[in-house]
Amino acid sequence: MSLLAKWLRPGKDNKNATHDAESIEQQALLEQYPTLKIMQDLFADCADLIHWSWPESQLDMLYFSHLAGNEEFAREISEPFRSIAPDEMEEVLSRSQYKPALDCRSASKGILDGNVCLFHKGSAYLVSVSLPETRSISQSETETSINGPHDGFVESVLINLSLIRRRIRSTRLKALKLQVGEVSKTDVYLLYIDGLANAENVQEMKKRIELVEIDVVHDGNMLVQLIDDHPNSVFPLFQTTERTDAIASKLAGGKIVVVMDGSPSAFSAPSSFFEFFASSDDYYQRWAIGTMTRMLRFIAFVITISFTALYVSVTTFHYEMIPEDLLITITQSRSRVPFPPLYEALLMEITIELLREAGARLPTKIGQTIGIVGGIVIGQAAVQAGLTSNILIIAVASSAIASFVIPSYVMSASIRLIRFGLLLMAGLLGNFGIVMAIAIIFIHLSGLTSLKSSYLTPVAPINLKDWLDIFIRAPFSWIQERPSQTRTPNKRKTRIKQ
């Protein structure tokens, strides 16, 4: 019994309490006052570090040239120090852009951030000359919009912040700067609108980000998995997006947004399961069309998880469900297939997943070829060779297409995964299996929380007002309140309390 219980409840991992990334010696070193010697030791073997020395004015500087912009360098370094008398040095260095560095930690971080570290008579100063190369602002590849704004986030957090600030010009938009990654030291900004976001949520999110223990974080989607409530769930618990307008609307709804340097995906929290089916494009259409599209996505969700499963269940166990007119058609298409429906369906589903993955990893042009080869050639040939029935091809293809209707790529992938669970259960237990799988999914979903709020809001706990902006896209005048999930102190949308 206890064995079973133990097995059912996997033990907590013994987390390594000690962090080897920085040894104690190095810790001590970092506390010291920075001198040229110590800094050079710290950056030993960094061939790309540039050391300039002007012995006549007792000035040394360390910096990475590839992090520096030419103009900035000229303005902050070349021009002020080109022809300067040694006694004028102090005066120049007391200008506000030259910040004294008090320990090696800040000095080394400054250099890594694209500052020039100046050493003069035993004092160290930092001046920012940074202008790292970035991709220009372009449309997000994964979340395209048809008639909304086309700007997507890029890999530079400062540009992303500027994109958000340009959309929300308010002093209430606060940005907390945090850092993640023992090695990578990635900048993370936690954004919220003061007075709209729940203060507890902000504190909670801040705490979670601060407590992240990892060496390097590469992307927002990765960070999400480190800080969300249930890292083992297949469902994404915070919504990531590359669209600036989506992030702005989340902020205005009282959610917390986190943007991370080096990643074009920002994420907002808390999120509900149903939010992943909304796209900001819905708001740029007339409300009836927006509503229709939204409902279409929920239908797509049902189709994705159930079509193939129903095919398997009906052809394996419940033949009586087939209407008369379809009976012969389906039997004919099944008649030459040598496998039981479950294997047949698994074969096709896996093929589709292969095609999708191959298409995603290849350049667009080759990806298209793959699509044609896979879709037409394999599909057609499989039917003609009698490996699958064409009704199944229709079921698999429509459920695959339906899965791409879901705007969030992460969610769409999760749903495609659970589809396999349904498929297996349908193949084993028919309709009962399907229902059971749905029950398990919903039991799982009802246990999930996103930033401590129910993942199933507004269905459970129920809030019919929220349905206006979740299941349909009601006219703007109807949506008077911010989503209840955020527990915003200021529910009404139309006025902000002072």
């Binding site: 083992n232 033949y319 429906p341």
Partner: protein
Amino acid sequence: MHNRLVRVAMIVILLGVLAGCGDQRILEKQGFIYSIGYDWLAKGKSAEGSVPGNKVKKDQLSVTVWLPVVSAESGRQHPLILQTVASTGKEGRFRLAKQTELSLASGQMRTALFNLQLASRGIMPYLDGFMRDPAVSQRLKIVVVDGTANEMLKKEYPSHMNTGPYIDHLLEKEVMNNRVPESTLYSFMRDYMDDGVDSVAPIIKQQGTHIEASGIALFDGDRYISRIDSDQTLIFAFLKGSFKYGEINIDLADQERKGEKAMFSSLAGNSKVKIKTLPGERLYRADISIKIHGILLEYLGDLQLNMESDKERLEKAIAAHINNEAESMVKELQKLGVDSIGIGKHVRNSLSYKEWKNIDWKAVYSNMDIRCNTKVTIQSVGKFEK
């Protein structure tokens, strides 16, 4: 927390693997019985399916099934007809199952055919089996065959490759047109177990190279008693209740209008039954008021239909004609002792429970005074007025 979920899901799937396989009914391995036919073989007749030349020693049953089969080689569909002789329906199914490599499945059964001789001996034993079998649809059509179901299913009809769907679709259309009443397993059983109405079923007959609906079978309990011929079936529909669609040909000879004929189409209307308690022997009187309206499509006679007065005269004549027919049909039904129209429901609903339980309904019924009152409205006389 959620790793456990994964593990539990694994257990569930594992258990599922252990289970289930025995209950699989994979589509292409099933032989879907589309139509099943039961024929009565009286003692002493030779029957197909039994050893040739052998006379049937005792009363037996011939069971025929018609199934659409798809051959794995060509992917084409062709009909398969199996037949056997047995003493009970279940035994028949059992024997039939031995004749094919497919497992016979009754979940797609659409029509159950009973021949007249069998129907007059009672069809409940077969219906009982249908009701018990969870696979059999509640919408299974109960049909009586004039002739033998075996021959009907076996025969190849030049314009219809698939006899099963042919019969099924024919019946569906006839029901739509109110020429035969709807008779599914559900409705047959419902009326069978209701004390205020008797069941009916359509009769079909093979006529040369086609099949036609040839009337309505009247049941007393589960036994076939008599029939209503096909030219009278619409009258039956009028009596039975509301109807939406239909056509009727009327010969007004009995209304002192020799040689006058009318063809009345797009009929719709309803009938209502009112019960009055009478003093004396007959106890109750039922007034059936039938209201019909429709379009006159054909008229042979000398009334000027564009004149209101003539139209009214025609309406009256038609109403009187229908009324006559209806009343004689009711009389006939009373004589047979079958309450196929469901007068009993109305009588029951006008009585108290005690009174209803105390009367011998069948006796009261045959003795009842039932009158019809028909009103006909000609909505239009078509596009063309002369």
